[in-house]
């Protein structure tokens, strides 16, 4: 591998807490 670039099309609107993880669905979140 000599060049790596990527950009995921992922937008999470909401649940943007600082200290805490909230799962509100079935695996649709990036964590």
């Amino acid at each position: 591998m000599s060049v790596v670039m990527c950009r995921m099309e992922c937008r999470v609107d909401g649940n943007g807490l600082s200290h805490y993880i909230i799962y509100d669905g079935a695996g649709e979140l990036p964590f």
Binding site: S2, V3, R7, M8, C10, V12, G14, F31
Partner: protein, 471 residues
């Protein structure tokens, strides 16, 4: 006549335009066997192996991609950072706590003598928060759009009023998604079952796999018993519950146990752990900050252990680290709002103290200068959001912070945390006390991406890539 020998080179006549004039501005940082080229204003980046011809890689692969996507990416990132995106509330239903943690961001007097909200007060507050989320232009979680904002019952220790919390969940689940962050002392099996049945997220505070360490950092306030035993029992009872997470606060007392903590949690099917370096909002906490020389290698070892366990089939995410990775590969996909400026405080969420006062974030709860309006007053939430206290945090851009303003990593790290730097320096416009840590960890994140570990750090299944070059 100009001799051939005095002619400028081809690259000088038709340069790449890199870092001059109106050309692309890509800062170069050294990340192990790679160079990372990075434009922080849009989070365009490329890794180039050090044994590759850099000019050729720029010409053939990097700059064409940059030209195609740069302006869209710049606009998206700016809009994401500049906009209000209210979706959640840290809600302290009691000021009391049954633990006396050595590093708590709340003053000890508050935790010893705080008040409990009555159920009627909690219910009234939720009504007013609902009205805010439905009507405020900066809300992104409106019931009428089929979306529910998040209420996290936070500490102090919220389960000191667990009957009121359960009633709130029963009465308000049609309007909110709920979570609880607890030391687990009062998280009996019936309560844990209730939370699982009602899809309440549960965060357990556990600082070490070693009982003597956890109990010395987070002792019970009065009485006898082991906080560790209760926390571990709760984790085992939750038994892989998808909406379970663990918060591990890193201090000089537990930093050596971070890698073993990953195995301990993976063995108990915990899907994610936040490993947060202790915030020095209080002086007692600043005394417990781990040294960089110990923190950085232990944190990285924990990351490597988590990658290994994930590859072996037991997925475990160190959420702080994965959030930094998202800051690189999907800046608008970040789940946590510490690692961005302006941060989420007063922009994506607010914090409600047990007397009803609204603050930008829980880290500010012990700092009276940052208290604003009351959640109990109709219209109080919107007035709080528009108050100078919350607006000040919302205006903390890395570009205006000394050192951060020229740092290539400024839009990955986010210079956390404003509450902490205010408490220590008297102004929120200072860099993070963990600056060296973030620098090292972000470099490590780039190396892991270069190694092809992205799917073991964040979920990539189901997501499209605008571009994805591995060659």
């Amino acid at each position: 006549m100009i001799s051939e020998q005095s002619l400028p080179s081809e690259s000088a006549i038709r340069p790449l335009g890199l870092n001059s004039g109106t050309g692309p501005h890509l800062q170069l940082i050294d990340v192990g066997e790679w160079y990372a080229l990075l434009d922080p204003d849009m989070m365009f980046w490329a890794l180039v192996s050090k044994d590759r011809d850099l000019t050729r890689a720029l010409n053939e692969e990097i700059l064409p991609r940059y030209a195609e996507h740069a302006e869209d990416m710049r606009r998206e990132l700016h809009e994401f950072r500049a906009s209000e995106r209210f979706s959640a509330v840290y809600f302290n239903p009691t000021g009391l706590c049954n633990a006396s943690c050595r590093y708590c961001y709340l003053p000890d007097g508050l935790r010893r003598e705080g008040r409990n909200m009555s159920y009627d007060e909690i219910s009234k507050a939720l009504d007013n928060l609902h009205a805010f989320f439905e009507s405020y232009p900066g809300s992104v979680m409106r019931n009428r759009d089929g979306r529910k904002p998040v209420i996290v019952f936070h500490g102090s220790e919220p389960l000191l009023v667990k009957d009121a919390i359960k009633q709130a969940v029963l009465d308000h689940s049609d309007r909110f998604v709920f979570g609880v962050q607890t030391n687990a002392w009062h998280l009996d099996d019936d309560t844990a079952d209730f939370f699982m049945d009602h899809k309440v997220s549960v965060g357990i505070s556990l600082d070490s796999p070693k009982k003597e360490i956890h109990d010395s950092i987070r002792p019970l306030r009065g009485g006898e018993g082991s906080m560790y035993d209760r926390a571990v029992h709760a984790i085992e009872h939750l038994d892989g519950y998808k909406a379970m997470s663990v918060i591990c606060t890193i201090s000089s007392m537990n930093v050596h146990t971070l890698p073993d903590m990953i195995d301990f949690l993976a063995d108990r099917k915990v899907p994610s752990v936040l490993m947060n370096p202790v915030r020095g909002t209080q002086e007692v906490a600043r005394a417990l900050r781990p040294e960089d020389e110990v923190l950085i290698p232990n944190f990285m070892a924990a990351v490597e252990r988590a990658v290994q366990r994930t590859k072996e089939g037991q997925r475990i995410t160190i959420a702080d680290f994965s959030n930094l990775v998202l800051g690189i590969v999907a800046p608008m996909g970040r789940r946590l709002m510490c690692d961005i400026t302006p941060c989420g405080g007063g922009r994506c969420f607010i914090s409600v103290s047990s007397d009803g006062s609204i603050y930008p974030c829980s880290e500010f709860l012990g700092l009276k200068e940052w208290r604003s309006e009351s959640v109990f007053t109709p219209g109080g939430v919107e007035r709080a959001v528009r108050s100078p206290q919350l607006a000040t945090v919302r205006n903390r851009w890395a570009e205006s912070i000394p050192v951060c303003s020229s740092c290539a990593l400024r839009n990955i790290c986010g210079a956390p945390c404003p509450g902490e730097v205010f408490a220590e320096k008297g102004s929120i416009m200072n860099k993070s006390p963990y600056c060296n840590f973030y620098e090292a960890v972000i470099r490590h994140a780039f190396q892991l991406i270069g190694r092809g570990e992205l799917p073991n750090l964040v979920r990539v299944d189901g997501y499209d890539f605008r571009y994805n070059v591995f060659q």
